[in-house]
Amino acid sequence: MTNTATLTVATPTEREIVITRTFDAPRALVWETWTNPNYVRKWLLGPEGWTMPVCEIDLRPGGSWRYVWRKLDGVEMAMAGGYIEVTPPERLVSTEKWGPEWPETVNTMVLTESAGRTTTTLTIAYPSREARDAALKTGMTDGSERSFARLDNLLATLV
């Protein structure tokens, strides 16, 4: 397997995070792995030791999604949201909320294919800089390993 893909993370504006990565697979397949629950639960797991026992995806505008992760020690975390725009296999716009204390983000995933390879551009937009900062602060100030695990998981799973 050739893996020359590099992941870039950028903060082009004060309320956005943009993640870009190229995969050695056609666009339709990459779309499938991001939107089919049977595939999502296999890879969207964050740090070691986490599984995704619940992965519900109602893939249509107005539909909702819900992920629940479980750590080996039994700690669970849930995240949910809705779909705003579903245009297979190129564009998916969804909302995401970690919990009541977290701001809702709008996540736009765009897939582009070139020579059998697919570039995924994921833009995570917070409602404001304050909201993005608040999300960062919650994980950064607490200091306990558990809250860092929460942050790890949050960061790793912002889809």
Binding site: M1, L7, T13, R21, L29, L44, G46, P47, K137, M140
Partner: protein
């Protein structure tokens, strides 16, 4: 644990760093200062912007701790302070690593799916597997 080490970063400072970096003029100023200190006049030169406008950006950068003032009372040259940038970079790097873990799993899954598809096509065509 990496996370605990990162926990020493003051969240307010990290916020200020990212906010300061969100503006293209301020990023250009930092890029200029990366190659050496410069006065406000020198910094304003490449921009179609008034000196007061540049000073405003410099204030944001100073408040974020990204820029400091030199001792020369006449020129008050500005200097880049690298540490907050390194911290912001560390946070992004950590974020990047988390995603990379996920994406490496996705690479493997995609490879499996591609192999599976080829097998299905061969079977359909009646080829031997």
């Amino acid at each position: 644990m990496q996370a605990i080490r990162l926990g020493r970063i003051t969240p307010g400072r990290l916020d200020a760093t990212f906010a300061a970096l969100a503006d293209p003029t301020r990023r250009a100023i930092l890029a200029r200062l990366a190659s050496g200190q410069a006065s406000v006049t020198e910094l304003a030169e490449p921009f179609a912007m008034s000196q007061p406008a540049i000073s405003k950006h410099l204030k944001v950068l100073e408040r974020a701790g990204l820029v400091s003032r030199g001792r020369d009372a006449q020129r008050r040259p500005r200097r880049l302070v690298a540490r907050p940038l390194a911290e912001a970079n560390e946070w992004l790097e950590r974020y990047r690593r988390l995603w990379e873990g996920n994406f490496q799993r996705l690479d493997i899954l995609l490879e499996e799916l591609k192999t599976g598809q080829k097998k299905t096509e061969r079977t359909r065509r009646g080829d031997r597997p």
